[in-house]
C-alpha cells in the first residue's frame, strides 16, 4: 500500500506493507534518527512528532500516519556543524551518553515547549516519561529541557558549568557534619567537584568539553549499526528460531518447508554448521574455560536458546520461515535455582562429550574457584564471635535501549566485514574467525556508536550467525534482536547465593572473613569464572582482616545466560558484604558507618586477596610476598562521606519525629549508607593501544582500539591527547574500534578505558609531542628539543619565537627530510587503583503494604581526576539508575515451564523520568599518580552501593533486615510481618 505524509515539511508518498510500523518506513525513507527499541513502543527511541505531538512510531502502523504531518529530528538539522538551539542545549549540558534516544528527547522537548512555554520540572519529567534511558539517570536531559524552555522564552539561563566546592575534610580524616551545614543549591545537573590541591592545573583535562560525537548524536545522523543498513544493497534479513523449552534434546530438524518458501535464501542449524567449541564471553585469549558452546547445537538449554537461523529477502518472509521449521524435541527436566543445581539427581545440563573443561559436568559445576590469604581456620577458631549470614541476589538484564544488532558482508577482497554493536571488537574478531573457518586476517569488525551495552555487548553473541550466513549466501546479512530476544537470549546478571562468615575479636575487629558463593551461570559458562572471581575479590577487599577465604561453585542451570553486567560481580558481593557489616555493627551496638570506618581500607593498606583471585588461574604454590602485595594508593573516602552526609541530611536518621511522621502513621522513613570500593581495569591483563598522527593543518587523528559504548570514552581520550599536545579538543579527530584501522584494545569493560586506554593515549601523545619538539627545534635552530614548549597550537622557543603546528606539519610532511609525525603506544598495568565512593539513600516505607519509595540517592565518588566532569557525573547518574532497578524493582520472573514471563519493559520495569528519586552526585578529586592526569575509573562503582544502602535505610526505618533483593512490596511486607512490624 501507499501512504502520503508530510514528512519534515515535504509531501511524500511512501510504499509500505499494511503491518509495517511507521518507524520502519521512516527509516527506509532515510530518517535514521528514528530508532528501534522494542515492538511495543515503551522505549520511546522511535518517537516522532505527528501533527506536533510526540508518539512512539515503533508501535504505530505506518498506515495510521497517512494524511498526517510527521516531523523527525532531521527537520531541525542545519548544514555541517551548526546546531538547532534544542540540539545545542542537549550537547552543551551533556544530556547524552550513547545518544541513541537523544533525537527522541529533542523532539519531546520541542513538543513540550510548544504546548507549555514555561514547564516545571514535573512537566518535563512527564514529557520524558515515554523515553526510557539507561545512561543518564535523566538528570542532564531534564536540565537540558528546562534550559531549552528558558531559551525559547528569550531568557538567558545561568551558564552550565561545574561547581567547585570547598573540601569539608583535610582529605584524610573524618569530620562531624553539622545539621546546619547545607549542600549547594544549584541544579543537581551541574557537576559538583571537590578539588584536591594535589591536582595540577590543566587546560583541557578536567574541563566540561562537549562530547566529540555530540553533533552527529543530537542531529540523529547515521551513527549506530542499523543506521548504515540502507547502504547495503541486496541485504538479507536474518531471524533466529529459539527454543520454547528450558531443556531439551533436538531429535531432528526438518527445514524443507522453510527452504521452499519463496524468498528464503538459507537456513542454518546443527545439521549444516560445523561444530566448533567456544566460550562466548568477550575476554582476552585464551578465553576462560569451560568452552561449552557451539554455533548451533542438538540440545537446547534455556528458553530462548538458539535452534536455527533463517536468511530471507524480507523480515516477514524470515519470520514466516521460522514457523515452517519442524523441530522434534525430547523435553528434559530443568532447573532454574542455583541452590539445587548440584544436588544428586539434578538434570545434567552439559552431558555432551565435547564440553571442554567444565569442572564437574555431572554435578553441573562449570567452575570451582578458591582463593585465600592467612590462616582462615585458625583465625575463625580464635574469634570472639562469628557472624554467619546468607544473602540471595537475583537475575536482571542490562537493557540497553539499542538491542543487539550486527550486519555482515563480504567486501570486494572477499574478506568478511561485520559491523556490530559490540564492546569488544577485537575479541569478536578473534573469537568468530575459527567458528567460520576463517583466519583473523580474513575478518574485519567495525564498531560504530553503541546504544548502550553495560556488559551485555561484551560478548560474541550474534556475530557468528550473520557471519555464517553472509559467507554461505555471499550477500549482506542483518540480524537485530527484538526486546524479548534481548531478555531471553542476550546476557544478564548472575544470580548468587552468598554465605558470609565473619569472625571478630573481642574489640569487634574482623579477623576472619570466609565467603562461600554459588554463582548461577545459566546454560553456558561464558563469564562464569571471571564474574564470580570478581565477586570474591570485591567481597574481601574493602575491609582489613587477618584471614580471608573465597570459595565458589559456578553452576549450570536452565536460565537465560548470565554474563558481564556493569559491576561484574561487585554489586552482588557488595550487597552481601555491606549488609553483613551493617548487621555486625548493629549486633555490637555500634553505628554502622562508624564501625565500617574503623576497618575499611585506607591509603597504604594492602589489597591482599587480589593476587589470589585474578582472572588467570594461579599455580598451586602461588604466593606473593608481603611487600609485593598491591596496596591502596589513594582514597578520598572521608571527603566522600562528609559530602554525602551533608547532602542526605544524615543527622535525620536518629530523629524519631522524622523517621516516624506523626501525620502518617503507616509511614516510616530511613537513611542508609554503603561503602564502595572498585577497581580500574584488570591488572596484568587489560591492554589498550593508540596511534596519533599529525595532519597538514596541525590537527591530529587519534586512532584507538578502545570501544566507546556511550560513556564518552572517545571524548576522554581526545582530551588527554589534546592536553599533552597543547591543542584544543577540536583539533583531535577521534576514530575508534575498527579492527582493520586501529590498534588493539581489549575493549570496553572492567572500568578500564580511562585508566588503561587513556594511558595508552597519553603515551602515544607523549611520543608525538617529542617528535614535534624535535622537528620544531630543527626549524627554530635550537640545540635541544626539550627547550621547545607546546601550547596554544604552537611550538615555542625559550626566546619567544614560535611556530604553528601547521607550519611544523607542512615542514615535516612536504618540505625537508620528510616524515610522518606519528606516535603509537600501548599500555597495560600491574596496578589497579581503587576508586572509592560513599553511597547514601533515603527511603519512605509504607509498613502496611511494604511499598518502598526511594526519595533520594547521593553518591560521592573518588575517581581520581575526572577527565571530563560532565561525562563522569553522567556515568554515575546513569549507573545509579541501573543500580536502583537492581535493588528495587527489576527481576526475571519465570513460569512453571522455565519461560520468562516479564520479557517486556512494562512488566520488567525500569525506572522512568517521572518517578526517579532525587539524585545528587559529587566528584571528589584525588591525584592517582599511576593514572592519566590523575584519573582512576568511574564506570562501574555507581552500581555497587545502592542495594546495601537501601537495605540499611529500611533497617533504619523499621529495624527489619532483608537479605534478598529486590525490595519489592510483597517481599518487604512479608519481612515486616514476620518481624511483627505494624501500625
Amino acid at each position: 500500500m501507499q501512504i502520503t505524509i508530510n514528512l519534515n515539511g515535504t509531501e511524500q508518498t511512501l510504499n509500505c506493507e499494511p503491518s509495517e510500523s511507521l518507524m520502519r518506513v521512516l527509516r527506509r525513507a532515510g530518517m535514521v534518527s528514528v530508532r528501534y527499541g522494542s515492538d511495543s513502543g515503551e522505549t520511546g527511541a522511535g518517537v516522532v512528532l505527528m501533527d506536533g505531538i510526540p508518539v512512539s512510531s515503533e508501535v504505530m502502523l505506518a498506515a495510521q500516519a497517512h494524511g498526517h504531518s510527521i516531523e523527525t529530528v532531521e527537520n531541525l538539522n542545519s548544514p555541517r556543524h551548526d546546531l538547532h538551539p534544542l540540539q545545542a542545549v542537549f550537547a552543551a549540558t551533556g544530556a547524552l551518553q550513547s545518544g541513541y534516544s537523544t533525537p527522541a528527547m529533542i523532539l519531546a522537548t520541542k513538543a513540550l515547549i510548544a504546548r507549555n512555554p514555561n514547564p516545571t520540572e514535573l512537566d518535563v519529567r512527564d514529557a520524558l516519561s515515554g523515553i526510557l534511558d539507561r545512561e543518564t539517570g535523566y538528570v542532564k536531559p531534564v536540565e537540558a529541557m528546562l534550559r531549552a524552555a528558558t531559551l525559547a522564552r528569550g531568557e538567558i539561563p545561568d551558564p552550565y558549568r561545574p561547581l567547585y566546592l570547598t573540601p569539608m575534610t583535610d582529605g584524610r580524616n573524618a569530620v562531624v557534619v553539622s545539621p546546619d551545614d547545607l549542600p549547594p543549591a544549584e541544579p543537581k545537573a551541574y557537576p559538583r567537584i571537590v578539588p584536591s590541591k594535589d591536582v595540577p592545573i590543566t587546560n583541557v583535562v578536567g574541563k566540561p568539553e562537549i562530547k566529540v560525537d555530540a553533533v552527529k548524536l543530537v542531529k540523529g545522523l547515521p551513527a549506530f549499526t542499523d543506521d548504515f543498513e540502507y547502504e547495503m544493497r541486496n541485504q538479507l534479513i536474518c531471524k533466529v528460531l529459539r527454543s520454547p523449552h528450558a531443556h531439551a534434546n533436538i531429535i531432528d530438524i526438518d527445514d524443507s518447508a522453510a527452504r521452499a518458501l519463496p524468498g528464503v535464501v538459507d537456513v542454518i542449524h546443527y545439521k549444516n554448521v560445523a561444530r566448533v567449541r567456544y566460550a562466548s564471553g568477550g575476554q582476552s585469549w585464551p578465553n576462560p574455560r569451560p568452552w561449552d558452546q557451539v554455533s548451533f547445537d542438538n540440545k537446547v538449554r534455556h528458553v530462548g536458546d538458539r535452534v536455527a537461523a533463517v536468511a530471507a529477502e524480507t523480515e516477514e518472509i524470515a519470520a514466516a520461515a521460522l514457523r515452517l521449521i519442524k523441530v522434534s524435541y525430547e523435553i528434559l527436566p530443568f532447573i532454574l535455582d542455583e541452590r539445587v543445581a548440584m544436588e544428586p539427581g539434578a538434570p545434567v545440563i552439559h552431558d555432551e562429550d565435547d564440553c571442554d573443561d567444565a569442572f564437574d559436568r555431572n554435578r553441573n559445576i562449570a567452575v570451582h574457584i578458591h582463593g585465600k590469604v592467612g590462616d582462615i581456620d585458625g583465625k575463625m577458631a580464635e574469634a570472639h564471635r562469628v557472624f554467619d549470614q546468607t544473602f540471595r541476589v537475583h537475575q536482571v538484564q542490562q537493557v540497553p535501549i539499542e538491542n543487539h544488532i550486527a550486519t555482515a558482508w563480504l567486501d570486494s577482497d572477499e574478506r568478511l566485514s561485520i559491523r556490530t554493536a559490540t564492546q569488544v571488537p577485537f575479541h569478536v574478531r578473534r573469537m568468530v574467525a575459527p567458528l567460520l573457518g576463517l583466519t583473523i586476517r580474513d575478518v574485519r569488525v567495525l564498531k560504530p556508536r553503541i546504544g548502550g551495552g553495560f556488559g551485555a555487548k561484551q560478548e560474541m553473541l550474534i556475530e557468528d550467525i550473520v557471519g555464517h550466513l553472509a559467507i554461505r549466501t555471499g550477500r549482506p546479512v542483518r540480524l537485530e534482536l527484538d526486546r524479548e530476544e534481548e531478555f531471553v537470549s542476550s546476557r544478564t546478571r548472575h544470580p548468587q547465593t552468598i554465605r558470609f562468615r565473619t569472625g571478630i575479636d573481642h574489640t569487634g575487629k574482623p579477623i576472619a572473613m570466609d565467603v562461600y558463593t554459588i554463582g548461577n551461570t545459566g546454560a553456558y559458562g561464558t563469564h562464569g569464572q571471571t564474574v564470580q572471581t570478581v565477586s570474591g575479590m570485591r567481597a574481601l577487599s574493602s575491609y582489613n582482616c587477618d584471614a580471608k577465604q573465597f570459595t565458589c561453585d559456578v553452576v549450570y542451570t536452565n536460565i537465560p545466560v548470565p554474563g558481564a553486567y556493569r559491576g561484574y560481580g561487585a554489586p552482588q558481593a557488595l550487597f552481601a558484604l555491606e549488609s553483613h557489616m551493617e548487621d555486625i555493627a548493629r549486633e555490637l551496638g555500634e553505628d554502622p558507618l562508624e564501625y565500617k570506618r574503623k576497618y575499611w581500607v585506607k591509603a597504604g593498606d594492602k589489597v591482599d586477596i587480589a593476587p589470589y583471585l585474578g582472572e588467570r588461574e594461579n599455580p598451586p604454590d602461588f604466593h606473593i610476598p608481603e611487600d609485593e602485595l598491591p596496596r591502596v594508593s589513594t582514597t578520598g573516602i572521608e571527603e566522600c562521606v562528609a559530602q554525602g552526609q551533608r547532602a542526605i541530611g544524615w543527622h535525620r536518621r536518629l530523629d524519631p519525629t522524622w523517621t516516624h511522621p506523626a501525620d502518617q502513621p503507616h509511614v516510616r522513613r530511613g537513611l542508609g549508607f554503603a561503602f564502595c570500593m572498585h577497581g580500574s581495569g584488570i591488572p596484568f591483563l587489560d591492554m589498550g593501544g593508540c596511534s596519533i598522527k599529525l595532519n597538514d593543518d596541525g590537527s591530529f587523528n587519534l586512532l584507538a582500539g578502545a570501544a566507546d559504548l556511550g560513556t564518552g570514552a572517545d571524548t576522554v581520550m581526545g582530551q588527554i591527547a589534546a592536553e599533552v599536545l597543547g591543542v584544543p579538543l577540536h583539533d583531535i579527530v577521534v576514530y575508534s574500534a575498527d579492527t582493520d584501522m586501529t590498534p588493539f584494545d581489549v575493549g570496553a569493560y572492567a572500568s578500564s578505558t580511562t585508566y588503561i586506554s587513556g594511558t595508552a593515549v597519553k603515551k602515544a601523545a607523549d611520543e608525538v609531542r617529542w617528535k614535534l619538539k624535535v622537528r620544531a627545534a630543527l626549524m627554530l635552530g635550537l640545540d635541544q628539543p626539550c627547550e621547545v614548549e607546546l601550547r596554544d597550537k604552537r611550538c615555542w622557543a625559550p626566546d619567544g619565537r614560535s611556530l604553528s603546528l601547521e607550519e611544523v606539519a607542512l615542514d615535516s610532511l612536504h618540505t625537508q627530510d620528510q616524515s610522518q609525525i606519528i606516535g603509537t603506544a600501548s599500555y597495560w598495568s600491574a596496578d589497579c587503583p581503587a576508586p572509592f565512593a560513599a553511597q547514601f539513600a533515603e527511603i519512605e516505607l509504607d509498613i502496611q503494604t511494604g511499598q518502598v519509595t526511594v526519595k533520594k540517592l547521593v553518591m560521592a565518588v573518588d575517581c581520581g581526576v575526572a577527565i571530563n566532569p560532565v561525562t563522569a557525573s553522567g556515568q554515575i547518574e546513569g549507573g545509579i539508575i541501573q543500580a536502583l532497578g537492581y535493588a528495587h524493582c527489576e527481576e526475571f520472573a519465570y513460569d512453571d515451564a522455565g519461560r520468562m514471563i516479564n520479557s517486556q519493559l512494562g512488566p520488567y520495569k525500569i525506572y522512568r523520568a517521572d518517578e526517579m528519586p532525587e539524585i545528587d552526585v559529587y566528584l571528589v578529586q584525588t591525584m592517582e599518580d599511576s593514572g592519566p592526569f590523575g584519573a582512576k575509573a568511574i564506570a562501574e562503582i555507581p552500581k555497587d552501593g545502592v542495594a546495601p544502602a537501601l537495605r540499611a535505610a529500611i533497617v533504619n526505618a523499621t529495624g527489619v533486615a532483608i537479605n534478598e533483593i529486590p525490595f519489592t512490596p510483597e517481599r518487604v511486607y512479608n519481612a515486616l510481618r514476620a518481624a511483627g512490624v505494624s501500625l
Binding site: E42, V59, L61, P244, H888, P966
Partner: protein, 254 residues
C-alpha cells in the same frame, strides 16, 4: 493473570488496513465473521508485538477509527462525555474531566504512548490492573456502544457483543480518592483503590488488580472475601491484603 503486553505475537500481521470515515462503515467491517477484524484506536495494544516467532497471531484486518470523529470531550449536567477515540493525553489535559480521572489517564501510559492510546481501546481491553478503569467504575461510567444493527450501554468492564464498537464513555463529575501500591511510583499498580462519594452519600469503591477485571466492591470489608489472581508482582493473599488496606484508606478519606 497477565497484562495484555505479556502475550507474544498479539497482532504482528495486518492483512488489510481500513480507515472508514463513517461509523456505519466501520461497524460493517467489524461485523464481519469471515474476516478476523479488530478495531484500531491508537495502536498501543493492537500493534504491540513481541515474540520468538513461536506463537504468531493470525493475520487480521484492522479498522482505524481515527476518522470517525469520536474524540470529543464535553461536560453537561454533571456528566462528562468522553469520545471513544479521545486519547489518554487529551483526557489528562482536559479541564472538564474530573481531576482523579485526569490523573489516572496520565498514569495509565507514559507520555509517548498516551498520545496514541484511546479511552475506547483502554476500556475494550478490560485490563485487570488498569487503574483508569477502576477510576471509571468509581465514577459510575456508562459505556455507550454500537453494532451494525443495535446499540446499548454497559459498565466499564462488561464484555461487549461481537462487532460492537465503543462510541463514548460518560462519567459523573466530582472528586475521588485514590491509593495504590506498586514497585515504583509510576509502576502499574499491583492493587489500586478508588473511592468516590456519590450525590446520595453512598461510596463507590473500585479496585484494580484483584480480579479478572477491575471491579466495584461494597466496601472495605468486601475486599477480605476476594480471591485475586496472583502473579510475580503480588500473590493472591498479598493482593487481598492490599485491597483491604487501600480500600479502608480511601473510604476513610473520601
Amino acid at each position: 493473570m497477565q497484562r495484555c503486553w505479556y502475550v507474544a505475537g498479539l497482532m504482528s500481521r495486518v492483512r488489510t488496513y481500513h480507515r472508514p470515515e463513517h461509523l456505519d462503515a466501520a461497524l460493517t467491517l467489524l461485523a464481519r465473521t469471515d474476516v478476523p477484524t479488530r478495531a484500531l484506536g491508537g495502536g498501543t495494544i493492537v500493534n504491540a508485538d513481541s515474540g520468538l516467532g513461536s506463537n504468531p497471531a493470525p493475520p487480521v484486518d484492522v479498522v482505524d477509527l481515527q476518522a470517525l470523529g469520536l474524540s470529543g470531550i464535553s461536560e453537561s449536567a454533571g456528566e462528562v462525555r468522553i469520545g471513544a477515540t479521545a486519547t489518554l493525553q487529551a483526557i489528562a489535559d482536559h479541564a472538564c474531566a474530573p481531576d482523579v480521572i485526569r490523573t489516572l489517564a496520565r498514569r495509565e501510559q507514559p507520555s509517548t504512548m498516551r498520545t496514541l492510546a484511546t479511552l475506547g481501546g483502554t476500556v475494550a481491553q478490560r485490563d485487570w490492573e488498569s487503574e483508569l478503569i477502576a477510576g471509571l467504575l468509581a465514577f459510575d461510567a456508562v459505556v455507550h456502544w454500537r453494532t451494525v444493527s443495535t446499540d446499548g450501554t454497559a459498565t466499564a468492564t462488561d464484555a461487549l457483543p461481537h462487532g460492537a464498537l465503543i462510541t463514548m464513555v460518560s462519567i459523573q463529575t466530582g472528586d475521588a480518592v485514590v491509593d495504590r501500591t506498586g514497585r515504583t511510583p509510576a509502576d502499574v499498580a499491583i492493587v489500586s483503590a478508588v473511592a468516590r462519594r456519590r450525590v446520595d452519600g453512598t461510596i463507590a469503591l473500585a479496585l484494580s488488580g484483584v480480579s479478572a477485571t477491575p471491579l466495584l466492591v461494597d466496601g472495605p470489608d468486601a475486599a477480605a472475601h476476594l480471591t485475586p489472581p496472583g502473579d510475580f508482582r503480588g500473590s493472591s493473599d498479598y493482593r487481598r491484603h492490599l485491597a483491604q488496606v487501600l480500600a479502608t484508606r480511601v473510604c476513610e478519606k473520601v
